[in-house]
Amino acid sequence: MSPPNALVLDDVSRRFGRRWALARVSYTLPTGKALLLTGHNGSGKSTLLRMIATAVRPTAGRITVLGHDTREATEQVRREVALLSHDSFLYEDLTAHQNLVVLGRLLGRPDPAGDSRALLERMGLSARGSHPVRHFSAGMRKRLAIARLLAQKPRLALLDEPFGELDPAGILHMEQVIEELRAEGVGIILATHLVEQGERLCDVRLHLVEGRQVTP
């Protein structure tokens, strides 16, 4: 039996008030392929990623992630998908280590403290593990947010502007992390304005203009 598609969007729309943020988008992403999501600001990229992650529900249409309907199997989707969002999901007054340990405990990991140390090391934040997030620079927050995503050990990673706020070394590191995730068999959906970098990392592309899909 062949594995289910990583993502199926079936006539998906989302409205906020009177404005359609996304209108009738249909797309199928086969397993093993990485999708590049492009479009100008306000084109609906973040909304689409948040809908795939089940943070918001579609107004109309159906989303299937790794074979699970996002409406009917929300918890299952959440277990298998992780979102790197514009908002970091980090507690400002906890340290970087504490943020990751709390998440590890919630996920039922056997050694959350060990996992946290390994992730901080991987993201080059070992020396700042005991510092509160409030004192972090934007780039360090982004790296910690990526560590948070990795802690979830997702089967599908949704990356919303992962290169934003990173310095050149950080961007290279991020590219390396994405390549490692792909090598581990993790599905990738990457939304970015850096099309060249995105095309290098992804196999297929979906372009959005004012919430509608167009051929790039």
Binding site: Y91, D93, Q98, R148
Partner: protein, 228 residues
């Protein structure tokens, strides 16, 4: 790896909330001073008549706790709003009932602590004698604080979506908690002044019933409130 159960998840989140509270002690200090100032203002408003102050002491204590609870509830959701941490919890995924229980227990603990801080001050400045001892008073304090925090957490989560959340929360919460407030005030007054007609049991019963209803409703409603 299996996710932890409801109680274990609640404990993890409660520990996280208490740690955050400890990290930002300025907030707790502000809450204590606010509640103390409220108690003192009532005494200034009524003047030096200690008989009157002692008779209404229970009411002033609970009003101070009610006003403080609005600040505390709003603050506990502000922490989750920052960086959309509540979304982070939802998507982890974390059992929303555990989020409710941890928030409600955390706020109740904070209010009980606040009540314990206010009690000696109230006894001293209002000239109150504890006719029935400290144990029943602690029991009523606990029941009253849990009765404020369970519906408070649900309404705080609702108000959190609104622009005027600071105004909306008291508007939603105050009318709802009137039965609990009334029962807590009456029960506290009876403990402070004596209970010759044995009425305490019925007020405690009302407080307990209120708790049962609103903790149950909170468990059912809160998951719907925090979803899109």
């Amino acid at each position: 790896m299996n996710a932890p159960g409801l109680l274990r998840t609640t404990w993890i989140l409660l520990r996280k909330d208490l740690l955050l509270e400890w990290r930002t002690r300025a907030r707790l200090n502000a809450l204590i001073f606010f509640a103390l100032a409220t108690l003192l203002l009532f005494s200034f408003a009524l003047g030096p008549d200690t008989t009157l102050l002692a008779r209404h002491g229970g009411g002033y204590l609970w009003l101070a706790l009610l006003f403080a609870s609005v600040l505390s509830l709003g603050e506990s959701f502000r922490v989750e709003q920052e960086n959309l941490c509540l979304d982070g919890l939802r998507l982890s995924p974390t059992d929303p009932q555990a989020i409710f229980l941890s928030k409600a227990l955390g706020n109740a603990l904070l209010l009980v602590f606040l009540g314990l801080t206010l009690l000696p001050v109230m006894i001293a400045i209002y000239g109150i004698e504890l006719k029935m001892g400290l144990a029943p008073l602690l029991g009523i304090l606990t029941l009253g604080c849990t009765a404020l925090s369970a519906p408070g957490v649900v309404y705080s989560a609702i108000a959190n979506h609104a622009r005027a959340k600071d105004v909306l929360l008291p508007l939603l919460l105050f009318p709802l908690v009137i039965p609990a407030l009334l029962a807590a005030v009456k029960a506290t007054t009876l403990v402070l002044q004596g209970d010759p007609m044995a009425q305490l049991g019925s007020w405690v019963g009302l407080l307990s019933a209120f708790n049962l209803i609103y903790w149950g409703l909170g468990l059912v409603l809160f998951p719907r409130v925090i979803e899109d």
